[in-house]
């Protein structure tokens, strides 16, 4: 349906364009720096063997991690949802908890367990552990929205349970699988902590090495642009694979409780896999952190811990809030329907997401240092977080807004509400819980950020991440451990909130008993 309010649509587009310009600043920085090199130098840099090796390694890592996430992740999510297992909620939470652990902490703990850990497969292992929760969250939310009526009909038509899964359920979650794959892949491209510690030189590590060793930011920028191209390629590939958009039905298409498959071997297999995953991703890292600390307990000033924690929380919260605000124009535009402009804007946002913290950090150092007092301010750091994680915010905000049925908006319009009133009085109140979840997700991610934080934080301010880093840099792991533990514990709170099941139908019921009784006159 065409929007009646033409001006509103253009105004929205102008806002989106503005946001895109803002987040393109790092890309602009890369282009400017790279252009300081002569053309022949750039070609030489791009065609040297090292570059091919690095590119190859990056793409290999990308493919491996995404592949494992898609297949293993979907299987695990399916097991969580559809197979009879003990304590399904607890197991689900356990698989999502790794979101609270920064990849560098992960890697440190695993290196502590296996000192010889390094190389491509080690990096793949760590990155799968780090990114699987994104896939699980995305797919689980989709599973929960499937209309159980469809499943019942399919079963009655004689399809086996497996056939129901592959022919009825999977096609509907295809979109969220690809969204999870996209997020995982972009994370792999932008990750620095894990790969550098494991001695795998991906594009991001190469960027960092180049600017540290040669202080030649142009070379680093050229590689940065190469990274951007790789991301662009990945994003385009994903949109091809994504498949058709199923019209999201909104909160009306609710899911009732689905009966789980009662197959003992399958249950045992699923539970074992889940337990094993939790062991690798949660239990062992925690064990290492705690035991390292206890091995050589250092006196940690509670005030230091508290200040770092407070700084971490406040800046991450600001960043999440700014990301939310920036995501609104595009999210609204997305709900108004597909168009070339929307598609391109989404892609640009995603590609910017692939830029690693070091690039965004440098870009904002370059740009921000001209801003006088704004430079190295909490505000600029929060803005850096917003730029880094905008894609996540756009995805969750638009998903939340899409849950509001268009019919509700139409009715509100006929009742005399202008577009902005409809947004404030209908859309936001209904979408609020899911919007909050999106903000939480960005908040969580921002708390763990390191490279941009190091460069942009106000001098003298430390976050938990920077404290961990500064102790680890001088190998004082036992002193880093309390900060790491605190970070994980604090991050576990929003992580836990993200796993609370959202049942749209029950959301507004005041009385538990009443909602079960459908009074028929």
């Amino acid at each position: 349906m065409k929007s009646q309010n033409r001006f509103g649509s253009y105004g929205l587009r102008a806002l989106v364009a503005g946001v895109l310009i803002l987040i393109s600043q790092p890309l602009l920085y890369l282009v400017i720096r790279a252009s300081e090199k002569s053309g022949s130098d750039i070609v030489a840099l791009l065609t040297r063997q090292k570059t091919f090796e690095v590119l190859g390694l990056t793409l290999a890592l990308l493919c491996i991690v995404v592949f494992i996430n898609v297949f293993l992740g979907t299987a695990i999510a399916a097991g969580l949802h559809y197979v009879r297992i003990p304590y399904p909620r607890a197991l689900f939470v356990a698989t999502i908890v790794p979101l609270a652990i920064p990849s560098y902490v992960f890697t440190y703990t695993w290196i502590a367990l296996i000192p010889s850990l390094q190389g491509l497969w080690a990096a793949a292992f760590i990155l799968v552990l780090s990114t699987m929760p994104y896939m699980l969250l995305a797919v689980s939310i989709s599973f929960a929205r499937i209309d159980s009526g469809l499943i019942e009909v399919a079963r009655s038509l004689g399809l086996s349970k497996f056939a129901v899964f592959t022919r009825v359920i999977l096609p509907q979650v295809r979109r969220s699988i690809s969204a999870g794959a996209l997020l995982s892949g972009l994370y792999v491209l932008s990750d620095f902590g894990a790969v550098s510690l494991l001695n795998v030189e991906t594009l991001t590590v190469s960027i960092q090495n180049l600017f540290k060793s040669s202080y030649d930011r142009s070379a680093a920028a050229v590689i940065g642009l190469l990274l951007f191209l790789a991301a662009a390629l990945f994003v385009s590939l994903e949109s091809l694979v994504k498949g058709r958009d199923f019209e999201s039905r909104g909160a009306e298409g609710f899911a009732q409780r689905i009966r789980r498959v009662n197959n003992l071997p399958l249950s045992i297999l699923t539970t074992t896999v889940l337990a094993f995953y939790s062991l690798l991703a949660v239990v062992l890292p925690f064990y290492v952190l705690i035991s390292r600390y206890l091995q050589n307990p250092s006196v940690v000033a509670a005030s230091d811990l508290a200040t770092a924690a407070l700084s971490t929380i406040s800046v991450a919260a600001m960043g999440a809030f700014i990301a939310f605000l920036l995501s609104l124009p595009l999210a609204f535009l997305i709900t108004q329907g597909a168009s070339a402009f929307v598609s391109i804007s989404e892609k640009v946002t995603l590609m910017a997401h692939a830029l690693p913290g070091v690039v965004v950090g440098l870009a904002l150092v370059s740009f921000g240092s001209r801003l006088g007092p704004l430079y190295q301010s909490v505000f600029l750091l929060a803005f850096a977080y917003a730029v880094l994680f905008l894609a996540k915010s756009v995805a969750s905000t638009s998903a939340a807004l899409a849950l509001v049925s268009p019919q509700l908006k139409e009715v509100a319009a006929t009742l005399g509400k202008s577009k902005s009133s409809v947004t404030m009085q209908v859309v936001f109140p209904i979408a609020l819980p899911n919007l909050a979840l999106g903000v939480l997700l960005v908040f969580l991610t921002a708390m763990k950020e390191l490279p941009a934080t190091l460069m942009l934080r106000p001098t003298g301010m430390d976050t938990l991440a920077t404290e961990i880093w500064s102790f680890a840099a001088i190998s004082r792991f036992n002193e880093a451990a309390p900060y790491a533990l605190l970070l994980v514990l604090i991050a576990a709170i929003p992580t836990f909130i993200l796993t609370i099941p959202r049942n749209a139908k029950n959301e507004y019921a005041k009385n538990e008993n009443e909602k079960k009784v459908r009074i028929s006159q």
């Binding site: 090292k50 000192p115 510690l197 001695n199 030189e201 090495n209 600017f211 540290k212 060793s213 040669s214 202080y215 030649d216 930011r217 050589n296 406040s314 600001m318 809030f321 700014i322 440098l362 150092v365 370059s366 240092s369 001209r370 007092p373 704004l374 430079y375 190295q376 301010s377 909490v378 505000f379 929060a382 404030m424 009085q425 936001f428 109140p429 609020l432 190091l454 460069m455 106000p458 001098t459 003298g460 500064s470 102790f471 840099a473 001088i474 190998s475 004082r476 036992n478």
Partner: protein, 340 residues
Amino acid sequence: MRKSLIAALVAGAGLVAGLGIWAAGNAGGGSGQVKELTIYSGRSEEFIAPFFAQWEQESGIKLNIRYGDSAELAAQILEEGKNSPADLFLSQDAGSLGAVSAAGLFATLPESVGAKIGSQYVASDRSWIGVTGRARVFAYRPGSIEILPSSVSDLTKSEFKNRVGIAPSNASFQAFVTALISEQGEKFAKSWLEEMKKNGAKIFLKNSAIVEAIDKGEIDLGLVNHYYTWEVSEALGRKIQVENGFFAPGDLGNLINVSGAGVLATSEKFEAATELINFLTSESTQISFVEDTHEYSLITGIKSPEGLPELTEIGSPKVDLVVLEKVQRTQDLLTQVGLL
């Protein structure tokens, strides 16, 4: 519902704005009496903070210290250029200092600043002053090696096969290789690296890991900086079976790198910054460096750290520290050889 939503949005916006303004207000410096100084320190907080605190007390000037990796901070300063808020850059190695100096971002320091520091540890254009010395050594497990090596070239021989550890990604090792290239030529350096690799040299990510491995007996010898044996022992909380050894005098394996400081040309607090440098290079502070962080003082006559020979006795090679800036070539070479 609507009212509370608007209220929340306004509050959020207000919070954001307020924090930003507050943070901004904190960053500004006033003219007249210097109240604050901004330092970018590549030296880790754990070791240098007590010294800074001491000076803060004595001078009454508040220090805003930004801790980070020396190379990263140097790159940040280069990126900030003339807009850098830093007044002083304290670096862990000479290479980073050289990079900032080469970009013309340091102010020239008068002769009175850091006067006691030996001239070979000061930039020839007086853009930066060395503060402490960091000697390259070989660490080894006593009793495991019959004849100690007298040159780095010895390490490529069969008696050291599979017994040596190096950390090619480490800045200090790279500084050593840079000096090797500069003094002996790229061909020599390349063949030495290749032979080390063929001789089964084990690769570690960190110097501390090398020392720990020697202690455990995984390797017998490693190329590290002199203070790592002390650092690892402190970190583990016990004595370790590792000692430091030096190559023959003049061998490049005995390279002495420095940590140093320079004042940013754009700083408006030149005097205060140079006073801080003077403090860091004063005798009492230098003695504290030796005792507390186990580093070498660069003032002739001050004793060396416990258990280590005097700086003059080591027989370090004569290398102009300026050359240490050229790390890119070193990294390329290491990559070619396959050590990076």
